[in-house]
């Protein structure tokens, strides 16, 4: 204690100096608006920066589970929405849901060839069957082509073996959408008669005739069109709404009344 006091006595000038300077700084920060704001803002930027960094790091690790949760919630909501729509639709004689949504993750994809495919992490175990529709929040992705116990493969629109029944949202002209094998962002819409009124940017949606896709899901937008002479149909180039390069989460749509419909259609 005595030594401590000695030190204090020895350096009393330095202590006094530091004390006075601290007093000055307190005065500067408390009494001058400009300094106050600068101090506050720099303090905020430091704290904010640290907070931002830590939260971004932690959220990165949480990202996967958060995504999962959101996807589940989305599925739930979509199912609820459909139920609600059916309840409100007085003309519908259906009591049950027409469509059931299941969420899935893309675990592998090949989009650079002409025979492209996408692999999902849901399979027979999760109730996935062949020829179910696969959509994402951006639009139509494709159709389930093969199912194993835990996985399923998707035949995407950008596969030349698949053509999807589609219609123009504005005037209901319908044709079939087919990929020409060139760019993964573009496809062709065929069988649209030349008198159809088309504008660049028109939405092309699913027609609902195929008993696979629900009606009204966006597939693409018209990029350009021309009418070759002597042809009754327009050549329409469309931009696909789904970007397969960034595709991560999808929904698998089951048409619950498919069997009934096909049975009726095939019966003689």
């Amino acid at each position: 204690m005595k030594e401590l006091l000695n030190i204090f006595v020895k350096f009393h000038r330095a202590f006094l100096f530091i004390l006075l300077e601290i007093l000055c700084l307190i005065m500067i920060i408390n009494n001058n608006n400009f300094h106050h704001s600068v101090y506050m803002s720099s303090a905020n930027s430091i704290c904010g920066g640290i907070f931002n960094t830590t939260s971004s790091i932690s959220s990165f690790f949480k990202l996967k589970s958060i995504n999962e949760e959101l996807l589940l919630e989305n599925t739930e909501l979509k199912n609820q929405l459909i139920q609600r729509n059916i309840e409100n639709d007085t003309s519908a004689t259906l009591i049950n849901n027409k469509y059931l949504y299941r969420s899935a993750h893309v675990i592998n994809k090949c989009i650079n060839k002409t025979e492209n495919s996408i692999t999902l992490d849901k399979g027979r175990k999760d109730g996935i069957k062949k020829e179910m529709a696969v959509i994402s929040n951006k639009g139509v992705v494709g159709i389930i082509s093969n199912v194993s116990k835990n996985y399923s493969t998707v035949l995407p629109i950008i596969n030349q073996t698949l053509s999807v029944s589609a219609k123009i949202k504005r005037n209901n002209f319908y044709g079939s959408l087919w990929w020409d094998g060139n760019s993964y962002r573009e496809a062709l819409l065929k069988d649209i008669p030349f008198h159809a009124n088309i504008v660049k940017g028109d939405s092309i949606i699913t027609s609902g005739y195929s008993s696979i896709f629900p009606e009204g899901i966006l597939i693409a937008r018209v990029k350009e069109y021309n009418h070759a002479s002597g042809n009754n149909f327009l050549d329409i180039k469309v931009n696909l709404s789904v970007d397969y390069k960034t595709l991560e989460n999808v929904y698998i749509v089951e048409y619950l009344l498919k069997e009934e419909q096909t049975q009726l259609e095939t019966s003689k």
Binding site: H12, R13, L16, F17, L20, E21, L23, C24, L25, I26, M27, I28, I29, N30, N31, N32, F34, H35, V38
Partner: protein, 172 residues
Amino acid sequence: MIRSYKYIIHFILLITIQLLVVNNIQINSYINPYMYILFILILPFDLSKSLLLLIGFFTGLSVDIFSNTFGIHAAATTLLAFVRPTLLTLISTREAYEPGSCPNIGMYGFTWFVKYLAIGTLIHHSALFMLETFNFDIFHITLGKIFTNLIASIILMLFYYIIALKHTKKRR
């Protein structure tokens, strides 16, 4: 007692000149000299170092109160008062300063006095203008301010010294 009376008069004079005259000199918002620090620089050598610190603090504080810049001048003058004894030993030309005297031209020479003023003012102005801008982004502007004001302040202080102090020293 007479000596302290003399310093009080100098204190009042310097602060008054600073506040009423020099603070109104503002060329291009760049030159805004501070000559009141001469008061700290001309205090006698044998003054207690702690007392010097307190005097420095209150000198700055009184300027602060009148120019609404709480703490900025006080911080700079406290720093100046803190380094003054070290500065004096660093630039001393003789073995020791004569006790009881104060820094003056008559005893230690004009060059020594200007050197003393320049280093002291540089320390004070550096602290002052950096605290005033409170920002290192425009450091080159602050640096320019420090040096232009340094020259202006030294000239003003020399004027004051020659007019008000030189004769009193001789008479003593």
